[in-house]
Symmetry: C2
Subunit: 334 residues, 2 copies
């Protein structure tokens, strides 16, 4: 059969807006605790927003497979809660001052309380997932979380150092693409799909997650603070080399390599300016190289599910929406 | 039937030494990760020792119920690993410099890596427990972990403030007694015991855990740094009021109450000396009051399982050992 056609943003929104609202309510309800500070931090994090792309993927995956049970709402909240838990701990580690344009939770409540709030969000995610009484779902979620935590530790060890593309892709798989992958696999698992279908959806999620993170890293290099909701070039300020930077390092002159090395080691733009780095990246087409890689993964995501049959009209719409998401991911400016 | 007689330390040791060694090996094996720093931190924590009282309880509980499967070794490692995960995060929060007489993990590797190492240990505990394919066991462990995390947060909120006995017992239940309780319940769950037996063993664990923490808190007040492996009166230095202190606060003169308040607020002994506080506690019999409470909980633990029938000779030995543990807990000096 031919590849499904691609939906518009409005079609996708209409398809899942009710479910996304239900997930928002579920997430709020899950963030209840008798301990006031947990409620406060959890509500702050929920209100802080985010693109909710992980729940969106889970919803579209279940819909494409014809599953409509309430579990999709619960697990949609779980993947967003797990994501939020990792952000809370990551922001402590990076000593981040802002997140999505607002003071980070660690700035507001202090690192100590946020260590525990992050722990609590992890546990609440698992507590909610446990209600499904499905061991495979728990295997996916626990395995995922270990990979994400290991990814963050690997990244810490590499801060300030030059890394190669292979190391970069390992890091972004663990830190981002695996949660995208699992969000899709959970949908297949809920629908009771055969392993082959779960793998196909997982492959879609993995490719999409890689594309998503590459774009995020490019936006971090090229975006303005007002759009990003955090200081421009935060990655370089934290000593993180991302794909475009790695590309330029492999092609630059001795002086250019030295300029990039200096920024990664200094973790600020005192000795070498941000504009100088951007000039080096532009000169070697490194931004375009990274965006080409992102677009290739986005296309691979589309191909991963191109031959999935649609059970009914709603499933066909969801498949069209899944064909739309990769373009949204690569074309966004924030 | 009459209450079982009480074993000697040597009998208890002979009964479980092979199993405790097997748990040590399992714990070591579980602490493997492809990320070097996780292995390093995990091995450091394992080598740092500890009384292994939680695995001991699980072993004695399963033995008393006639269960001899390998799961007891795996879950024995799980409860110790969970305990270790909480210690790692607690030490970050308390900014503890030492643990068991050695530099704390956060002092050695820094707080950031230890946030992630703690996360990883939590996940590895659940990963190992998941292998049992038993939802009830997962419910117990996840529920427990949430209570422990909430307990630590409640404690943080109360630092430097006066608390009453009710608040104190709620805190030590969450922070210590619940893990003792769950260690016993896991044994019953593995043995496939009816709910009533699981409740009885859980009650034993809860009472024992309360006794254990009360004694820990008394030792913190009265012990020497060389015996404790951490500075004397650490709790007062962290602004924590424990049972003997609460007792003295309720009975002391205005000046005595003010002295205690000052230490809790200052979190050091500059304005009021450690010896002054000890003198106030002795004058009101507060240490003895706390130890009496501990001994009462120890006795309640013994009574909780006094009527449990022994299936065979090995089970009878384990029951005798469980009658021994409460005395060990209240009579120790470290």
């Amino acid at each position: 059969m031919s590849a499904p056609s691609i939906a518009t943003a409005k079609e996708v929104f209409d398809l899942v807006s009710d479910d996304l609202l239900a997930i928002e309510l579920e997430f709020n309800q899950q963030a209840q605790s008798e301990v006031a500070v947990i409620r406060d931090i959890a509500r702050y994090l929920i209100a802080g927003g985010g693109k909710r792309i992980r729940p969106l993927l889970l919803l579209l995956g279940t819909k494409a497979l014809g599953f409509t049970g309430d579990s999709r709402i619960r697990l949609g909240a779980v993947v967003e809660m797990l994501h939020t838990a990792t952000l809370v701990h990551d922001d402590i580690i990076d000593d981040a001052q802002t997140r999505r344009g607002q003071p980070s939770a660690n700035t507001t409540w202090g690192a100590s309380k946020c260590v525990l709030a992050g722990d609590w969000l992890y546990m609440q995610s698992f507590h909610t997932a446990l209600q499904e009484r499905n061991f495979h779902i728990l295997d996916l979620l626990i395995g995922l979380t270990q990979q994400m935590v290991e990814g963050e530790l690997l990244q810490m060890q590499k801060l300030g150092h030059l890394i190669n593309e292979e190391e970069y892709f390992d890091l972004i798989f663990r830190k981002t693409a695996m949660l995208f992958k699992v969000s899709m696999q959970l949908g297949a698992s809920l629908a009771g799909s055969p392993d082959a279908i779960e793998q196909q959806l997982g492959e879609y999620g993995r490719n999409l997650g890689l594309a998503f993170q590459i774009v995020d890293d490019v936006l971090d290099l090229t975006g303005e603070e007002s759009t990003l909701g955090k200081p421009a070039a935060s990655d370089l300020r934290e000593g993180k080399a991302t794909l475009a930077v790695i590309h330029a390092l492999e092609r630059g002159t001795g002086a250019e390599r030295e300029a990039i090395r200096t920024v990664l080691a200094d973790r600020d733009f005192t000795r070498v300016k941000h504009a100088t780095i951007l000039e080096i990246l532009r000169h070697h087409g490194s931004i375009e190289y990274a965006m080409d890689a992102a677009r290739a993964y986005a296309e691979a995501a589309r191909q991963s599910i191109a031959d999935l049959p649609a059970a009914d009209a709603e499933a066909a719409k969801a498949l069209r929406a899944l064909q739309w998401v990769p373009g949204y991911v690569t074309d966004r400016d924030r």
